[in-house]
């Protein structure tokens, strides 16, 4: 991220508890236009909780979340309008066609029918799915369903795209296609992307990285920064170092905020 690019997503001092269990503690993140940030963390690190808070499925009173300057608690409509989400679990209606699913989403965002259809064609076309528009989702395989969900998340032209473990359960070629497509969205369209995963091989050389472990952010910065600060040779070693150490007394590294 360059210093002068405006922040698309700003998370500061975010904390959240499920009853007595501390799920997130003092998490800060920021994301600029065109930035592809990989949110790395083992299962249970708090990635999904963080996503639930950013998407306002639940609300925290600790800390602040801003999307293109709109504070989520005070101005949820404006913040949510600028956000596209691909959830971990599939969220398509299996009995409806691809196009019906996408039209539904476009209507929720207030798009008219003609415009929606045009955008649906564009977004599906970019993923090689245009000819599948009239098929029922039930007939699509997992990889194609994921592509439809990515197309859906882009229909209202969000500035911020959130993806929670989007490649889980997909074969290698499909994973590569999706990873490449979303990278292109960041590079060419300037979409800010937050990509949560526990798969370190999805980190590309020019991505930025944030590491989450046991509800705390352990590192944030460009890949090279995180490597330098952990003294690790590659992201795998850095990830291991950041997530295998005990929870107590470890200072977060790589803070660029």
């Amino acid at each position: 991220m360059t210093a002068d690019s405006p922040a698309i997503l700003e998370v500061s001092g975010l904390g959240f508890s499920f009853g007595p269990k501390r799920a997130l503690d003092d998490v800060s993140l920021d994301l600029g236009a065109g930035e592809f940030k990989v949110l790395l963390g083992p299962n249970g690190a708090g990635k999904t909780t963080l996503f639930s808070l950013i998407t306002r499925l639940h609300e925290s009173t600790e800390g602040e979340i801003r999307i293109e300057g709109a504070e989520l608690r005070r101005d949820p409509g404006r913040a949510l309008a600028r956000m596209g989400v691909v959830f971990q679990q599939p969220t398509l209606d299996l009995d409806l066609t691809v196009q019906q699913n996408l039209l539904y989403h476009a209507a929720l965002h207030g798009l008219g029918r003609a415009e929606s259809l045009a955008r649906i064609e564009t977004e599906l076309g970019r993923l090689g799915m245009a000819e599948r528009a009239r098929e029922r989702v039930r007939r699509l395989n997992g990889g194609h369903r994921r592509r439809v969900e990515i197309a859906r998340a882009l229909l209202h032209r969000p500035g911020l795209l959130l993806l929670d473990e989007p490649t889980v359960g997909l074969d290698v070629p499909t994973r590569q296609t999706i990873v490449a497509h979303v990278h292109r969205l960041a590079r060419e369209d300037g979409v800010a992307v937050l990509w949560a995963t526990h798969l370190i091989d999805e980190v590309a050389a020019d991505d930025s990285v944030a590491v989450l472990h046991e509800g705390r952010r352990r590192a944030q910065g460009s890949l090279s920064q995180v490597l330098a600060e952990t003294g690790a040779a590659d992201i795998g070693a850095a990830f291991a170092a950041l997530t295998q150490a005990g929870p107590a007394g470890q200072a977060p590294v790589g803070d660029t905020t």
């Binding site: 499925l57 209606d93 019906q100």
Partner: protein, 268 residues
């Protein structure tokens, strides 16, 4: 976010409910067959046992199958309300609920749209049932079918809100049976759906009182009077009051600050 956005959003939600309804043919058939079995089998059997005295809105002796039609209309809406809202509890539905909840319009509006859309579907089911009942010679005056419409909107919303409220507080639902046992059956049997309340009073004063406070009784009475072109003000008022309370609680149940999603597998 102007008025047009709200209108498009509602149209989108209603279209989706309608498409799902059309494409899940089994659901429609089940929704139609269930009350018909009651009407054709149960009511036919009881017809000879149970006479129903003259009581408003009826101005003559009626047969039992005529008596239970409003109760069966209520049953259609009760099932539909539970089914469409409680399906949100299931994971996949939870998923589609998420796409709804992360869209930009205010959450109360999204929930009301969903309820209205579900109610419209239940109204289609009701009129399909009444059309079949017509073929079994259970016929109302044309005015009755017309007056029924606004009442069905109110009763449908009330029962839909109940389902939505349940879906916001129930953590997990193994299957539909739990709701059958603990919500649908008590509501249906402890109401004026199958027998007039005075008949219940002869048997047990306690049961009579339970029936009399059951909001479903008032929904059915509102439907019963409407079918005869009459307006039961007290019943409609109670339905609207219950609707207001249930809806407010359901919207509270889906308040993100309460984090109800978290208890239902939304977390890690």
């Amino acid at each position: 976010m102007n008025g047009r956005h709200y209108a498009r959003c509602f149209a989108g939600i209603a279209t989706r409910e309608a498409l799902r309804f059309v494409q899940q043919r089994e659901r429609f058939i089940a929704a139609l067959v269930r009350p018909l079995v009651w009407l054709v089998v149960f009511a036919a059997g009881f017809r000879s046992v149970l006479g129903v005295a003259i009581l408003p809105p009826y101005d003559t002796y009626i047969t039992y199958d005529v008596y239970i039609v409003p109760g069966l209309v209520g049953m259609i809406q009760l099932f539909n309300g539970m089914q469409s809202s409680l399906s949100m509890v299931y994971d996949r539905e939870m998923g589609s609920m998420r796409t709804l909840l992360v869209s930009p319009l205010p959450r109360w509006f999204l929930l009301v749209c969903k309820l209205l859309a579900g109610t419209l579907v239940s109204i289609l089911q009701v009129y399909a049932f009444l059309a079949v009942a017509w073929m079994f010679d259970i016929r109302m005056a044309p005015l009755g079918y017309l007056v029924l419409l606004p009442v069905l909107v109110a009763t449908g919303l009330m029962l839909g809100s109940l389902g939505m409220l349940l879906s916001s507080v129930i953590k997990q639902l193994e299957n539909f049976a739990g709701i059958m046992n603990f919500v649908i059956f008590p509501m249906f049997f402890l109401s004026s759906a199958l027998y007039p309340l005075w008949k219940m009073q002869e048997t047990s004063l306690l049961l009579y009182r339970v029936c009399a406070v059951n909001p479903f009784t008032h929904a059915i009475e509102a439907i019963r009077f409407a079918l005869y072109g009459q307006f039961n003000g007290a019943a409609v008022l109670l339905v609207l009051l219950t609707l207001g309370i249930l809806l407010a609680l359901a919207i509270y149940g889906y308040d993100p600050a309460r984090g109800m999603m978290s208890r239902k597998g939304g977390g890690d």
